[in-house]
Symmetry: C2
Subunit: 212 residues, 2 copies
DNA sequence: TTTCGTCAGATAACGCCGTTATCTATGATG
DNA sequence: CATCATAGATAACGGCGTTATCTGACGAAA
């Protein structure tokens, strides 16, 4: 009978393709990524890629999945760090922003406007859900610990959307030269939202305590 | 001597090309827009387009400019409407969101991540500046009228980024099925930011007055 | 009125893209 | 050792953005 690719070989092939794709996305930009180019870098023919991925979109979906997971890793690491919930939440925010600007191609890949919907229960959908859970988790904990008082899911999405808004305006170069710097906008936004949700008990200790 | 295109003919040619480009962007999506396709719709050869625009990117830049101007028109109309500054500011926000979801391709065109920088003093740069001014203007007026108290530019950018964040998450389909609806997130975000900036005098009249 | 120069626009072509059809060589199984 | 399904190469398709080249039409000059 034939010589079948083992599961391990398939996995390795996919991993090699993804590695090249991610490197090229960084080097030449997401939109210049091409099947021919990836194959060239591997010393393969372009058609060989189709033994490992159904088409280009499948490669992008896998790269998106990996990007989601890397983002989640960083958010979870920040959340698992030292300090009280205030400090850790701040670190989660920093991790998000750092990820975005250290990996703009990954951030773009994840949040690009035109995206084919992910198949339900696909790896991509799961990675997306994990990232969303991480974007919610720290807010839920703040509410659970009584630091702030709000509908956790709603407030989490407000935080997330706000952060994503500044990040993506900055990335798209839509903050003109007359605009305040990115970090100023971000800090002011977060400060306003936080204060709007401070629990009565936290209001005394945090609000005054945080500003010496 | 030769038969030169008059300024008017050039302007008309550019207008026809743009009209087709914008229609096709709506019909088939921004990324399927092509020089060949635009020319086909015009009954021209693809190369004829190069008599009117330097290249495809120039067409996109012109379309971006037009999109910016349409957005500005709507923002200005909302700002010029009836009612006090609270009502008009609310309408500016509605105009922004309505524009985004009624013209997703235009919104995408404007706020897409990867954008070649606009040439300084180009029509595009001017249209961009006009739109940014409109995103600032209503906040400046609120501050001027004493309704709220903040650095106008900073607060305007916080509002804008927040709104853009919810809009673009929604457009990219990144708000999962477990997320609160778009309008809920938007309203909550705007409410929180507004309250954080209410001037002491407005706090009494607005905060209580606005909730019956 | 004929010639001529110049430019608008068409045709052809280039190299790239994503993808499919077809071929070839391989190596485990009978 | 012969067979045969398959991995991967080669070739090809239609489409892309863009450039080179050709063609034809018109205003100025003769």
């Amino acid at each position: 009978m034939p010589v079948l690719l083992t599961q391990a070989q398939i996995a390795e092939g996919r991993a090699r393709i993804l590695a090249v794709a991610e490197r090229q996305a960084v080097e030449i930009g997401l939109d210049r990524l091409s099947m021919h180019g990836i194959a060239r870098a591997l010393g393969w023919s372009a058609t060989a890629l189709y033994r490992y991925f159904e088409n280009k979109e499948a490669i992008l979906a896998a790269a998106r999945t990996a990007a989601f997971d890397r983002l989640s890793d960083r958010l979870e690491a920040a959340m698992a760090g030292p300090g009280d919930i205030w400090a850790r939440s701040r670190e989660v925010g920093n991790a998000y922003v750092d990820f975005a600007f250290e990996n703009p191609q990954s951030y773009r890949l994840i949040f690009e406007f035109a995206q084919p919907p992910a198949a339900p229960d696909s790896d991509l959908a799961l990675a997306n859900a994990r990232a969303r859970a991480n974007m919610r988790g720290y807010v839920e904990q703040m509410v659970a610990e009584g630091a702030i008082d709000a509908d956790p899911s709603l407030l989490a999405h407000v935080f997330w959307a706000g952060l994503h808004g500044v990040v993506s305006l900055q990335m798209a170069g839509r903050l003109g030269p007359d605009a305040p710097p990115f970090e100023t906008i971000r800090r002011d936004m977060v400060r306003r939202i936080i204060r709007s949700a401070l629990s009565p008990s936290a209001r005394a200790s945090h609000q005054t305590g945080a500003r010496r």
